[in-house]
C-alpha cells in the first residue's frame, strides 16, 4: 500500500519514503484492509490486535484500531485516558528502514452511540431519535434486540473502512485509513458477530437495517477482509480455534492467519528436551559448567534446574502436539513469545516487530 506522510508532527516525514516499496520483507496480506482479530478468552487477542496495529503502522500505514466490547482495553494497553466514541491518535509505529512510520488511531465503538449516529445520518431523525431515546427504544434495541447490536457495531467499522474518506485529514467524517484492525468478540461468537445479516434474517426480512447488514456483509466477505484467530498452545484454545475456522468457512467469511501467542522460550533442542524428560541430562557436566561460570553449586540448585527442565520439557511436548494441530488447520501461522515481564508499551512494540518480521504486516 502507500507510504503516507504522517499527519501529526511527532514523526518527521522522510524524503526517502517511496511509494509502494517494501524493502524488508513482504506482507502476507497485501490486499487486506480490515484485519479482524479474535481468540478465546485469556489468549491475549486484544494484545495481538494492538501489536498488529503497531506493526502495520511500522509499514508506514495509518491504522485504525477498533474495540467493540466496551472495556477500554486499548486505553489501558496504550496507557491513555478512556477513549470516546471518536477516532483518536494514540501511537506511532516503529520508524523502519522504509522511511516514516505511520500512526495508530483508536476508536471505541459502543452500540448506543452508533445507533444514535446511524439514525441521525440516514434518517435525519433529530427529534424522533431523541424520542426513541426517551421511550427506552435505544436501550431496548442495543441491549436486547439481538443482532441489532452487532449490526450497529460492525456498521461503524464498515463506515471507517468506506472509500471516499479523505486521507490525512481530521474532518468530521474521519480520515481514510490504510488499514483497520478490529479487536473483535471471542472465537465462540465471531462467526455470529460478523455474519450480521444471517443473524438478522429471522427478524428483519426487509427494510433499511437489513439492507445495511447486507452492505456490511459484502465488505466482510470480500478479499479486503481477513479474520485472524489468536490461540495459545493448549488443548481447549486450539480446539476452539479449529472449530472457529470451520464456522467461518461455513459462513463464507475469509479466514486470515492463526497467531500462536504466549509461546514458551525454546532454549533447549529436541534431544536435550528428551534427555530432560527422561532424566538423562549430564548432571556432572552441568555442575562443572555452573562452577566454571562462578555459580555456587549445591544439590538444591541442581535438582531444581533439572526439575524445571523436566517440567519445561513436558509442557513443550504438549505444545508440540498442539502446534501440529494448529498446522493442520492449514492457514498461515505466526508465533509470539511469552514476555516474562508482561506486556507494556515496550512489549507491544516488541510483539509488533515480531509480527512484522514474520510477514503478518
Amino acid at each position: 500500500m502507500t507510504c503516507r506522510v504522517a499527519s501529526a508532527g511527532s514523526v518527521p516525514s522522510s524524503p526517502t519514503a517511496r511509494l509502494g516499496s517494501r524493502p524488508v520483507s513482504t506482507t502476507d496480506w497485501p490486499k487486506v484492509q480490515l484485519h479482524v482479530v479474535t481468540g478465546k478468552g485469556g489468549t491475549g487477542k486484544s494484545t495481538v490486535a494492538a501489536a498488529l496495529a503497531l506493526a502495520l503502522a511500522s509499514r508506514g500505514k495509518s491504522v485504525l484500531l477498533c474495540e467493540v466490547e466496551g472495556r477500554q482495553g486499548i486505553a489501558q494497553m496504550f496507557d491513555v485516558s478512556p477513549l470516546p466514541y471518536e477516532e483518536r491518535r494514540i501511537a506511532s509505529g516503529l520508524p523502519g528502514s522504509e522511511g516514516s512510520a505511520g500512526e495508530v488511531y483508536a476508536l471505541h465503538i459502543d452500540a448506543e452511540s452508533a445507533l444514535l449516529e446511524y439514525l441521525a445520518m440516514y434518517y435525519k431523525l433529530g427529534r424522533a431519535g431523541r424520542a426513541l431515546d426517551r421511550f427506552g427504544v435505544i436501550d431496548f434495541a442495543t441491549t436486547v434486540a439481538p443482532g441489532v447490536r452487532d449490526v450497529l457495531l460492525t456498521g461503524k467499522v464498515f463506515e471507517a473502512a468506506k472509500d471516499g474518506r479523505k486521507k490525512g485529514t481530521s474532518s468530521k467524517a474521519g480520515q481514510q485509513y490504510d488499514a483497520i484492525v478490529l479487536d473483535a468478540p471471542p472465537t465462540g461468537r465471531i462467526a455470529q458477530f460478523l455474519n450480521v445479516n444471517g443473524e438478522l434474517a429471522g427478524l428483519a426480512k426487509a427494510g433499511p437495517i437489513k439492507k445495511q447488514a447486507d452492505t456490511v456483509m459484502t465488505l466482510f466477505r470480500s478479499p479486503r477482509t481477513a479474520i485472524h484467530l489468536v490461540t495459545v498452545l493448549e488443548e481447549m484454545p486450539v480446539q476452539e480455534t479449529a472449530d472457529g475456522v470451520g464456522e467461518l468457512h461455513q459462513a463464507k467469511l475469509p479466514v486470515g492467519g492463526v497467531i500462536v501467542n504466549l509461546v514458551r522460550p525454546r532454549d533447549l533442542s529436541a534431544e536435550q528436551l528428551d534427555a530432560a524428560r527422561n532424566g538423562t541430562l549430564d548432571r556432572d557436566g552441568i555442575e562443572a559448567d555452573l562452577r566454571s561460570a562462578g555459580v555456587e553449586v549445591d544439590k538444591v540448585l541442581v535438582d531444581g534446574l533439572l526439575t524445571e527442565a523436566h517440567d519445561h520439557a513436558e509442557r513443550r511436548a504438549l505444545e508440540e502436539s498442539q502446534r501440529a494441530l494448529v498446522h493442520e488447520i492449514g492457514v498461515p501461522i505466526y508465533e509470539l513469545p511469552r514476555l516474562p515481564s508482561g506486556v507494556d508499551m515496550g512489549g507491544l512494540y516488541q510483539l509488533a516487530a515480531t509480527l512484522r518480521e514474520q510477514g503478518m504486516a
Binding site: G42, L119, L125, R127, A128, G129, A131, L132, R134, F135, G136, V137, D139, F140, T143, V144, A145, P146, G147, R149, P186, G188, Q192, E199, L203, A204, K205, G207, P208, I209, K210, E234, M236, Q239, P265, D267, L268, S269, L281, G285, I286, D289, L290, S292, A293, G294, V295, V300, L301, G304, L305, L306, E308, A309, D311, H312, R315, L318, P340, S341
Partner: protein
Amino acid sequence: MSRQRTRVGPLASTGEVAPTLDIDALLDNPATEIIVCCGSGGVGKTTTSASLALRAAERGRKVVVLTIDPARRLAQSMGIEALDNTPRPVAGVADGTGSLDAMMLDMKRTFDEVVESQASPEKAKQILENPFYIALSSSFAGTQEYMAMEKLGQLYRDAKQSGAYDLIVVDTPPSRSALDFLDAPERLSSFLDGKFIRLLLAPARGPARIMTAGFGLITNALTKILGATVLQDLQMFVAAFDTLFGGFRQRAQKTYELLQAEGTAFLVIAAPEPDALREAAYFVDRLSGENMPLAGLVVNRAGIRPESELSADEAMAAVERLARRDGGAEVTAGLLRLHADRVRIVERETGLRARFAAANPRVATAVVPALATDVHDLDGLRRIGSLLAGPAA
C-alpha cells in the same frame, strides 16, 4: 517520615500475605450448600469447579456440578458430552458415602422449559415459535447467565425436595466480566420493565388514548428502520410473553436471594495476570456490596517458585560467562535461561498477588501451581483438587 521503613515495592511488601483459603474446611462443612465459581474468561473456572466437585464427592458429599462449557475431553471423561440438561452420574468416583453427578447447561432448552412450565401449551407454542423469542433465547447477551442461575434455582429446589444432593457446584458462563453473572437477572428485569415494552403492550391492554403522538412518532421511525413486519412480530411476542413476565421476575428474584443465603459460597477464580486480577477485585467489591458470601480467591496456573535462591540476574550473568567460553555448555546455559525466565514470571506474579492482597487483605486465597500437562480426566481433576486444598492435604 518513617526512617526505618524500607522501600515498599511489590516484592518488598512481604507483609501482605493473604490468609490461606481452607478448601477442605469449606467442602466438608455441611452448611455449605452451593459453591459458585466466578471469574473472567480463560482462567480455568470449569476445571476448578469440576475439581472441587470431585474432591467434595470423594470426601463424602452428595454433589452435583453444573458446568457451562467444558473442554471436549473433560466433558467426555465426566460423561456429559451429550447435552440433555439433566444431571448424570459420573463414573470413576472413588467409593464412599459421597456421589457426583454432572451436567452441562443447555441454555435454550432451559429457557424453553421455563416457558413451558409457566404458560398454557397453546401459548407456550406461540411463544416458542416467535422469531423474537428464538433470538432472545439463543443470543440475548445475558441469557446464558440468567439460565445458569435459573438452573441453579431448579437444582436447589429439587435437591431440597428429593435429598439427592447436599452440595451444588456452579461454573459460570465464559464472559469478559465476572460481574455479568450477577447482573443477568437485573438486566432481564430491566428489559421486562422497560418503557418500550410497556408501550408496546399498551394497545393490547387498554384504551386507545395511550397511543400518544409520541408513540406514533416512534412506531413510524421503527417501521422505517426495521420494516413493518418486525414491529408486528415484536408486538405479538411481547403480548404473548406478558403473562409470563411476573413469574420470570419472581424466579429471578428468588434465585438472587438464594445467592445471598448463608449456605452459598462464592469463589473468585483468577489467573495471575493483571486483567484477571482486576476483574477479581471488581467482583470481590461487588460481592461485599451485595452482601454475598465470598469464600475466597483461587489463583490458577501460578508459576512455581524454584527452590534454589539463584536470582534471574545471577542466572543470566552465568549464561553470559558460559557464552564467553568456547561452546560445550549449551545445555547448562539453556537450563539457566529457563530458570531466569521462571524466576521472572514468579516474581511478577507474586507482585501482582501482593498488590491484590494489599487492596483486599481479608480475602483468603488458594494458589494452584501450573501443571505441566492439560487436565482432561478424573485423575487430573483429583490432582487439581489436592493442589487446591494446599500442601497440607
